[in-house]
Amino acid sequence: MPVGSRRVVVGAHYGLRDWIVQRATAVVLLAYVVLLAVMVALARPIDYDAWASIFVPATMKIATLIAFVALAYHAWIGMRDIWMDYVRPTAIRLTLQLVTILWLAGCLVWAAMILWKV
């Protein structure tokens, strides 16, 4: 394996953890999608009051935020895998990974702001 300035930029020890986290977050997201679908079905017909009242209870805000955290982590692992598979130049790959993190972190903060305005 090349060392020094030609070092291959890969880590160690995070593979299995990410593999498990991607599956754990998948289960969280699956549960949340089912929960939200049930909430929407029960609130039909959907007008503004019915829609907003779904996200008023603190429990639903917390559940939704947890789902967004799971989504951000899940999407990070998936997108990082895509960049690792298709983008060979290290500088470009690391830039794309950084943009991915900023993109997801921004979405996560925005989601929290939306939720706590309701």
Binding site: A26, L30, D47, Y48, M79, I82, G106, C107, A111
Partner: protein, 131 residues
């Protein structure tokens, strides 16, 4: 190490005749649908924000979602979610060593396509206001 030799086990010409099996199609669509949702996230959050902001914002979100091009995009995103979700459940089953042999994995791939496309058709009817 002198001249580098590129070693391929198939030639470029073979690629034309090389057909991806159904689980392979499911797999690449799982990846594509995930990437599509990742890219669509800010747009969906914008709609989410507007719809929860106020009665007026809800009306604006509904008006935007009422445009025919947006309806097509929303139907596409519904497919992305449903394919990703159904294929994901199949992967979780595979991780539990369920349905690993070739015939079972092909059959479960067809089931994923059938279920996710049926649910997408239902979502499309809802998006286009038929039901």
């Amino acid at each position: 190490m002198s001249a580098k030799r590129v070693i391929r086990n198939i030639s470029i010409g073979d690629l034309v005749r090389y057909k991806l099996p159904v689980p392979g199609v499911l797999s690449i669509l799982h990846r594509i649908s995930g990437a599509v949702m990742f890219l669509a996230l800010p747009a969906l959050l914008w709609l989410f924000d507007a719809s929860l902001r106020s009665e007026v914002g809800f009306g604006q979100a509904r008006a935007i979602a009422g445009h025919v091009l947006v309806k097509i995009v929303l139907t596409g995103l519904a497919w992305a979610l449903l394919h990703h979700l159904c294929a994901g459940v199949r992967y979780l089953a595979l991780d539990l060593d369920l349905g690993l042999d070739r015939m079972a994995s092909r059959r479960s791939s067809w089931i994923v396509f059938a279920v996710s496309l049926a649910l997408t058709a239902w979502a499309a009817l809802a998006v286009f206001g038929v039901i």
